[in-house]
């Protein structure tokens, strides 16, 4: 169980306000979605939460701990993990090693162990390896440990990104368009996988997604961003019928809705 509290975050690039005074909270063991038209600032929110960009204003708290202004790696270790919209796996490392790098910061041996070839190093290495294998198994990449990530099909690369994010031992998992580029049956499989993972671990998930069926099915609440501002929030059913949301996506038009 964990709680993420985001208070009035803002970010401007030059004169463009990418995110303008956006606040939200995620409590307990939840899945929430962030949607919005292209350029609404969805990925910017993730980049602000994970410290890729510095905040112009606002604060981020995770379980009461202030994460504002911490460097990226410290935020990840505090418990915010993410995947990337345009897959960013480590070439030059195999599938298993990709996951291991994410688990490594917790492996608890030091440089002295490396230089003196201690049994502790061997033991901890093995533990990290087993742990990483387990994450690969969870996402269904068993048997691909030795493959190069770039030689995997696209859908599997997405799964590997997910396994790698899991290996950082998160309290909050941010998924940036996890279903982009997947075919309909893969999207179906991803929704099931996300459900399984969410049930298995104690963290909350925040999903950015253009495929509305993913967000609608998975999330209990949805935030709609438009031009960096919060346009609407509510349950999937409420969002579908929200006039402002349909206008933002489709322009002003008479729509019929029963809810």
């Amino acid at each position: 169980m964990s709680s993420l509290e985001v208070k009035g975050i803002s970010k401007a690039f030059g004169g463009v306000k990418a995110i303008d005074d956006f606040s939200f909270e995620v409590d307990g063991h939840d899945i929430v979605g962030i949607i919005g038209p292209n350029g609404a600032g969805k990925t910017t929110v993730f980049n602000l939460l994970t410290g890729v960009y510095s905040l112009d204003a606002g604060q981020v708290f995770l379980d009461g701990k202030n994460l504002t202004g911490l460097p990226q790696h410290a935020i990840t270790r505090a418990g915010i993990a993410r995947t990337f919209q345009n897959i960013r796996l480590f070439r030059g490392l195999n599938v298993l090693e990709n996951v291991m790098t994410a688990a490594d910061p917790y492996s608890g041996y030091n440089l002295l162990d490396v230089c003196l070839f201690t049994p502790r190093k061997r033991r901890r290495e093995k533990a990290v390896k087993d742990l990483s294998r387990n994450y690969l198994k969870i996402v269904g990449l068993e048997g691909y440990e030795k493959e190069k990530p770039e030689s995997l099909p696209y859908g599997m690369q997405r799964k590997l990104e997910l396994a790698r994010a899991l290996a950082t031992n998160p309290r909050i998992l941010l998924l940036d368009e996890p279903a982009a580029g997947l075919n309909p049956s893969e999207v179906r499989a991803f929704i099931d996988l996300a459900r399984t993972i969410h049930a298995q671990f104690q963290f909350s998930i925040i999903i950015i997604e253009h495929r509305l069926e993913v967000v609608m099915e998975l999330s209990s609440r949805i935030f709609v961003l438009n031009f960096g501002k919060l346009l609407a929030m509510g349950t999937p059913a409420e969002i579908v019928c929200d006039r402002a949301v349909t206008e933002a996506y489709l322009g002003e038009e008479e729509t019929e809705c029963s809810a």
Binding site: H73, R77, E97, P105, E125, V128, A167
Partner: protein
């Protein structure tokens, strides 16, 4: 025979320096044009301490390595925050600065005349044993979380940070290990040649080491070792070609960049398990 041994000894000392470059450039992707300066630091500090102050050799060697560490910290701390191209500039400046210092402190270092009269204490066996230890440490480093994280950050720094890797610290740690290792090679060097001059440690040496790493395969320790023997050893044996060494290097580098951009070995290593696999394959074929 003596000639062969001395060539192998020099190659061994060079290889320890190349191992440092392999860690910094091959694994981590930082271009250090000042790596040879650490060789100079190790050589000069240990030689001066031993010759002028009468310190016992092991202690002089230890102090030389510590000075190398301190120098590494001095260059490393501000540079790891910089973008990669600026790191090359700063390390280049540092390397040339060290040479200028050596040239201008003639009362201690002998200046451009060089430092002579150092007793020969290094033997082939000592170099060979040191080399084995250094190679073992680099292998252990590569196959640890450090090596993995270095490769990860070389590949995608932003993603590496997002996986909880403290990128700046990791760069610094790698750079420092390389500094100490190269300083140690400097100690071996000066107590073998018995004479050093500042000109022997210029950026050309650092560049040569980097070329060796690239020819061998950026990501491959086996490649670095192999290329060191070919590129340092060979010109010594082919005496007639030694004047053409730089030219030969250039041609080799051009050929490799053209036909095998990731170096001779690329990312491959010859390890025990690899040899076993090869052996089994051979047995099956026979």
């Amino acid at each position: 025979m003596e000639y062969l041994v001395s060539t192998l000894t020099f190659t061994g000392i060079t290889l320890i320096g190349v191992l440092g470059v392999y860690m910094v450039t091959g694994l981590t992707g930082l271009f250090s044009f000042g790596q040879a300066a650490f060789l100079a630091i190790g050589a000069y500090v240990s030689a001066v301490l031993y010759k002028n102050l009468g310190l016992p050799l092991p202690l002089a060697a230890l102090v030389a390595m510590l000075v190398g560490l301190a120098a590494g910290l001095l260059v490393g701390l501000p540079t790891v925050r910089l973008r990669r191209d600026y790191i090359s500039l700063v390390t280049f400046g540092f390397g040339e600065a060290i040479i200028a210092v050596l040239n201008n402190t003639a009362n201690i270092t002998g200046g451009a005349m060089g430092l002579s009269g150092v007793p020969q204490k290094t033997s082939f066996l000592l170099v060979f044993a040191s080399l084995l230890v250094c190679v073992a440490i680099v292998i252990s480093y590569k196959n640890s979380k450090y090596g993995r994280q270095c490769l990860a950050l070389r590949n995608d720094e932003l993603a590496a940070k997002s996986m909880g890797i403290n990128v700046e610290r990791l760069k610094l740690v790698t750079f420092l290990i390389a500094s100490v290792m190269t300083s140690f090679a400097g100690v071996l060097y000066v107590f073998y040649t018995t004479y050093v001059e500042p000109g022997a440690f210029g950026w050309v040496i650092s560049a040569e080491w980097m070329i060796i790493v690239f020819v061998g395969g950026v990501n491959s320790l086996t490649g670095a070792v192999f290329a060191t023997f070919i590129l340092t050893g060979l010109p010594e044996f082919l005496r007639f070609a030694s004047e053409w060494r730089i030219a030969i290097y250039c041609v080799i580098v051009l050929l490799i960049l053209n036909f095998r951009p990731s170096g001779i070995f690329g990312e491959h290593e010859i390890s025990l398990s690899f040899l076993q696999k090869l052996f089994r394959k051979g047995a099956r074929a026979a």
